[in-house]
């Protein structure tokens, strides 16, 4: 391997970590190498610094706001940081964020898995490629456009469905409709579902495509129908992939700002019915309240942003963990 006379960094196979570091140190003896290594390592470190700075600065501002909060930051049903004394709490925002995301997930996950299966197992080969391509493109449509479409097209077209839900499910209380504009958490959930469809579909599709042919053939050879093949070989293999795809989608739904801000008619209370306008989400509240916020108001919004940050971190972290596990699992099996 040591074909190079001046430089023994030619090993193509990654050696163990400590040898690696020594090697890097030795390899960096000439100035060019040293500078280049410094630059690239510096970039990596810079990235870590940004992450740390995000945590530090958000926490600082948030601490400042929460210390002045006369209400309970977690349970107060009010957002009035400019009052004297300031009173604000994230209860309504947490509720709205969670509810709209749950609705979005309940719709988007099964539909996305369906589309992913459609692309990989049902559509004629010639159709599957272009469809996947279009879904890819749709993942790139900016949320502001989804918001515009949601507010100007989806909201007016929801009335019929709302009337229905009210007629047949109104007795539950959850689907009671007073007849107002459909600018509710429910519509937000539907819009979020449309928005996260592409990403969940794309990730699930990749997972389904990786199902080894031999597992599917094993099921086929036992006399399984197409659906039985999917149930026996494809879905079990792809389950963790579907979960992590859903988590990535959930992360998006939780943090979505503009589309929610444009569709929801916010209020600082929790209504029993999902169909009534009102409620709010973390991100929406920040965007809607920001331009009228004073100094303490901005800090209060930053505090709520910190909560959102932590939630999305947890969700994304869980998704990555599942993906990493799955890699090990399939690696051991390959």
């Amino acid at each position: 391997m040591d074909t190079s006379t001046q430089n023994i960094t030619t090993q193509p196979v990654p050696p163990p970590a400590d040898a690696e570091q020594k090697r890097a140190a030795r390899g960096a003896t000439r100035p060019g190498d040293r500078i280049f290594l410094g630059l690239s390592r510096g970039s990596g470190i810079f990235l870590l610094v940004i992450m740390a700075a995000i945590a530090v600065f958000l926490t600082l501002r948030a601490a400042n706001a929460i210390s002045k909060d006369e209400g309970n930051f977690l349970t107060t049903f009010d957002w009035n940081p400019t009052a004297n004394p300031p009173v604000f709490g994230i209860a309504v925002l947490a509720f709205g964020t969670v509810v709209s995301s749950i609705i979005a997930m309940a719709i988007a996950v099964p539909v996305s898995v369906g589309i992913a299966l459609f692309i990989t197992h049902y559509a004629p080969r010639k159709l599957g490629g272009p469809i996947a391509y279009v879904i890819d493109l749709l993942a790139a449509v900016p949320s502001i456009v989804y918001g515009l479409w949601g507010a100007l097209f989806l909201v007016p077209h929801m009335d019929g469905l709302y009337g229905w839900l009210d007629d047949y499910l109104g007795w539950t209380g959850i689907f009671e409709w007073q007849g107002g504009a459909a600018r509710s958490l429910f519509t937000v959930g539907i819009l979020l579902a449309v928005m996260i469809l592409p990403i969940i579909t794309n990730v699930s599709r990749e997972v389904f495509r990786q199902v080894p042919q031999m597992h599917e053939e094993a099921a086929l050879a036992l006399g399984a129908t197409r659906w039985e093949v999917i149930r026996m070989a494809v879905l079990p293999f792809g389950r963790s992939g579907i979960i992590s795809a859903s988590m990535l989608g959930l992360g998006r739904a939780l943090g979505e700002t503009m589309a929610v801000a444009m569709v929801l008619s916010p209020s600082f209370d929790i209504t029993a019915s999902l169909l009534d306008p009102g409620g709010g989400t973390f991100a929406q509240n920040i965007a809607s309240k920001f331009n009228e916020a004073t100094e303490i108001g901005r800090d209060a919004l930053i505090a709520s942003g910190l909560v959102l940050f932590v939630i999305t971190l947890l969700v994304n972290g869980a998704a990555r963990l599942i993906i990493a596990r799955r890699k090990e699992f399939s690696g051991a099996n390959a």
């Binding site: 074909t3 190079s4 430089n7 960094t9 570091q21 390899g27 060019g32 190498d33 280049f36 290594l37 630059l39 690239s40 390592r41 970039s43 470190i45 810079f46 990235l47 870590l48 992450m51 600065f57 501002r61 539909v111 996305s112 369906g114 589309i115 299966l117 049902y122 790139a140 449509v141 900016p142 949320s143 502001i144 456009v145 989804y146 918001g147 515009l148 479409w149 100007l152 097209f153 989806l154 077209h157 929801m158 009335d159 019929g160 469905l161 449309v194 469809l197 197409r226 943090g255 979505e256 700002t257 444009m262 991100a283 901005r298 930053i302 942003g305 999305t312 971190l313 994304n316 990555r320």
Partner: protein, 354 residues
Amino acid sequence: MSNATLSGKRPSSLRGATLPKWFPWAVAAGSIALGLGISAAAGLDSSIQWALIAALLFVLGSYGIAARVEGPRQAKDRVATSLVWVAFILAVAPLASLIYETIKRGVKVLDGYFLSHSMGIIADSEPGGGIYHAILGTLEQVGLATLISVPIGVLTAIYLVEYGRGKLAKAVTFFVDVMTGIPSIVAGLFILSLWIITLGMGYSGFAGSMALTILMLPVVVRSTEEMLKLVPNELREASLALGVPKWRTILKVVLPTAIGGITTGVMLAVARIAGETAPVLLLVWVTPLINSNPFKDPQASLPVYIYLQYANSGGQGPGYDRAWAAALVLIAFIMILNLAARGIARWKAPKTGR
């Protein structure tokens, strides 16, 4: 016909009753007709309603008929098939509608004047005006963000692929993943608290660019990493064996080989941040006038322009038309970037050794 073949305990039955090929289509047509009929009879006017009724009828109908004729296993298979089709249509319908509506409503005021003029002193309720200032702002903000994040992102990826395997590299990999999941509004809040509140700087295009950089960096790192990993090790070895130092090997051999893929990744990242609204709204503020200096004073940008035109129009009038037209321009810009990026990827693909 199976009488003669009864050699075992089980009669041979390769030839189960099978429904004809046109069966799903017939059921689909029937369900749609019935759905429309029911809706008309019950006076339901929403297309969502009759479509839902039709979808339900389609699934139930295929199950019922197939269960009776072909048996439960085949019926389940058919239901799964029809559900998958329904899922596909359910998803495609809103997405198609989104594109259709944007184009239909967007072309109304979209012309050369619209693209080459700012709003100036035209009120949001009056007709006229354009998006020149917003396009300029978006291009500058996105351009600055790209200028910052591409070198840092590519260098980070080089570090991860070519140098790093220790703890630092692991940490960087992990936090790049974490960064991918940061909601855009949080990135905006961070720059707000750092740049505007703590350092006391004013609103500017550059402040927005910094937030966009945070969103763009992880995408650039990830895609560059993937591309660098595709470069065959033989190339690196060949160069190193000639006595070329490692840094020159990376610059002259590795990067050029992967450049197509890296460009694709960068363009996709640009497409992603070009539509970001929330951080720009927080940090750049807005102006109806042309401000070509991204380092001083508020600037306009396309996404925020769309938002404000919509918010101030109340869903009708000239502002509403302008919002759709600007949305069409934004989508077109992003789609063109996407298509170009994929074009480059395809064009360069054979050279990256696959």
